[in-house]
């Protein structure tokens, strides 16, 4: 679960092997292959400290099913707020391994660009990170009792 009024995203369910039986369009196959390759090649440590900016959105309807939700979440965050790579899994409350792999793909396809960040800028970003904020944690408990309309709509659309 997330902070106040946020969408709830859980870890991806166990791998669905049904896709093995269907032929994917080429673009989806390329994304899937690149994703699995990126999972095996961790980002260099210095890359996790760079400030990431969204330049354009990927063609979301042409991604393989299992990547649509995590890519949408990452791009939505960067659309609203340029963020340092290592904070993204904390803000989205999701697997750093998956986020790093997807960030690699988004950077390679030039949808996301990286910049250096000053120490004061980094400190500000960490302070703004909701999951690190105690006030957000208490708000999170309230939201758990009364899900917002945004989270209800998200559940309805994603089944999560």
């Amino acid at each position: 679960m997330f902070a106040a009024n946020s969408i709830s995203v859980q870890e991806a369910p166990a791998p669905d092997t049904q896709w093995l039986q269907t032929a994917l369009p080429l673009v989806q196959l390329q994304w899937r292959a690149a994703y699995h390759q990126a999972l095996q090649q961790p980002l260099p440590a210095e890359a996790a400290g760079e400030l990431l900016q969204l330049v354009s959105w990927p063609n979301l309807t042409r991604l393989p099913d299992e990547l649509v939700i995590p890519v949408t979440r990452i791009c939505s965050l960067l659309w609203r707020k340029s963020t340092v790579g290592f904070l993204i899994p904390r803000i989205l409350d999701t697997s750093p391994h998956q986020v790093n792999a997807l960030l690699q793909l988004l950077r390679e396809s030039r949808h996301v660009v990286a910049h250096g960040v000053t120490a004061s800028g980094l400190q500000r970003l960490e302070e703004e990170c909701p999951s690190e904020n105690p006030a957000a944690t208490s708000a999170k408990a309230k939201v758990a009792a009364a899900p917002s309309l945004v989270s209800k709509l998200w559940q309805r659309l994603t089944g999560r």
């Binding site: 009024n5 309807t61 042409r62 659309w79 609203r80 800028g121 709509l153």
Partner: protein
Amino acid sequence: MEWSILFAGPVGAGKTQAIRTISDIEVVSTEALATDEVAQLKQNTTVAMDMGVLHLDGHDKVRLYGAPGQSRFDFMWDILLQQARGLVLLIDHSRADPVADLDFYLSDLLDRMGHRPLPVVIGITHMDLATSADLQPYHDYLSHRAASGLAGVAPIFEVDARHPRDVRTLLMTLTSMLDMFERFPVRSKPAALGYA
């Protein structure tokens, strides 16, 4: 609680179809026989609005409104925009100059929104009917707008309004953006963070 999401765009872009594809109820339409140049595109056209509904837990619902495409019904755009929490803009890629259509509808609708922040998702339809299926001209246009400070980088992707997966992705993206709106009410200014 009830919210509404507005589907807008040119005549024939697939607004009514998209709502029909995902709505939980039979879409309430205000269609009339097309008598002007629209008659060359399709028999009927929306003259006031279309309405579908997504039912959520606890009797909450999201109303999906489709605005008429013709600008002579643009008084409806204001009425529907006033209550919308998000905007889905559909652009027909098979028309003569779809980037000009995007410019017209995006500029006009953003003007009507004024200073009210509203997430916008853009779906490009009828790509199968066009000779070129390239999104780059749209990306170039949006980058130019963003660079001019006219708007942020809006999500843009291919959509087949008949496919539930595509329409769901449009709404999912909008929902995720709304979530970020709530979590980060103030958009960050990257330059203030000290780009190297």
